[in-house]
């Protein structure tokens, strides 16, 4: 289903994400890469875990704030079946762990540092995402 182009809100959101990444680098010297923060919060020793848990708490608070104040999560729904969500979740988890990053770590923080690894990773996951959606929507149809 089509969604509306939201240039103002999306630009504003990007600026907020950018401000977040700068604040985390300035204060802790850390990359605001969410996949790394999540897996670190789950698996690292306590000294490394705490700041990640605090960050994730903030992430949920910020999301909740936007939902309450601006209704940002109104109408948000999954786009596929529970079975495919499980598969996709596993693949996203394995992929981001294996590839050392996701949209935020590679796509924003890494590209900002002109890291060749991040530029390559971003081009690849964008392309594989585009191919996946093309196959799902235009070759298989929206039957899934």
């Amino acid at each position: 289903m089509a969604t509306e182009f939201t240039p103002v809100l999306s630009t504003l959101g990007g600026l907020l994400i950018g401000a977040s990444a700068l604040l985390l680098m300035w204060s802790m010297g850390r990359i605001a890469g969410i996949s790394g923060i999540v897996s670190g919060a789950a698996m690292e020793a306590s000294s490394e875990r705490n700041w990640r848990l605090v960050f994730l708490l903030g992430l949920m608070l910020g999301g909740g704030l936007a939902a309450l104040l601006f209704g940002s999560l109104d109408g948000v729904q999954p786009v596929t079946s529970t079975g495919l969500l499980v598969v996709a979740g596993l693949v996203v988890g394995v992929g981001t762990a294996m590839g050392s990053g996701c949209t935020s770590g590679h796509g924003v923080c890494g590209i900002s540092r002109f890291s060749p690894r991040s530029i390559v990773a971003t081009l690849i996951f964008m392309s594989s995402g585009i191919v996946t959606v093309f196959v799902l929507r235009h070759l298989l149809g929206e039957t899934l």
Binding site: T3, F5, P7, S10, L12, G13, G14, I17, G18, A21, L22, L23, L24, M28, G29, R30, I34, S35, V38, S39, W51, V54, F55, G58, L59, M60, G62, G63, A66, A67, L73, V76, V79, T80, T82, L84, V86, A88, L90, V91, V92, G93, V94, G95, A97, G99, C102, T103, V108, I111, S112, R117, A121, F125, M126, S128, G129, I130, T132, V133
Partner: protein, 154 residues
């Protein structure tokens, strides 16, 4: 005090994800659907973030060290190896199927819809499984305790 800044950073990130529309899987999937109902919004999210972070990082790195840590913890790897490529391909596939990447997956749970919780749990499981697999591989490679593999063959 440092946790105040970390919390604030998290809040800004969560606000950004929600306000930008990235927590809406339909919007993300439409961004990837360049041959269909393309919604270019996500390009602006990334573009705006890059516009801030690129000069901002330069400025921050001109300091000796971060405010609350001894060093800047930056990834040191520079080689483009099979893991990077394979991981990125896999991530893109999961992202395309679900319209969810890690941060939006967490924020979307706030809708209270159980399927988003299931996705987030599956994602966490995938991360942990991969890291355990790497640990196991490391211990097998260094020929330390091989009891687990022996037990499997029994």
């Amino acid at each position: 005090m440092k946790y105040f800044y970390v919390l604030l950073s998290g809040i800004l990130f969560g606000l950004g994800i929600a306000v930008s529309g990235m927590a809406n899987p339909a919007k993300v999937q439409n961004f990837l659907d360049i041959f269909g109902t393309w919604d270019p919004s996500l390009a602006l999210v990334m573009g705006a973030a890059l516009l801030v972070v690129t000069p901002g990082y330069r400025l921050i790195f001109s300091a000796q060290k971060p405010r609350f840590a001894e060093t800047f913890s930056l990834p040191q790897k520079s080689d483009i190896d099979r893991k990077l490529v394979g991981g990125a391909v896999l991530f893109g596939v999961g992202w395309g199927i679900s319209g969810l990447c890690p941060a939006p997956a967490l924020v979307a749970m706030l809708t209270g819809i159980g399927q988003f919780v299931i996705f987030a749990l599956a994602m966490l499981t995938g991360m942990v499984l991969y890291k355990q697999f790497v640990l196991l591989q490391g211990s097998v490679n260094t020929a330390t305790v091989n009891t687990e593999t022996n037990n499997d063959k029994r």
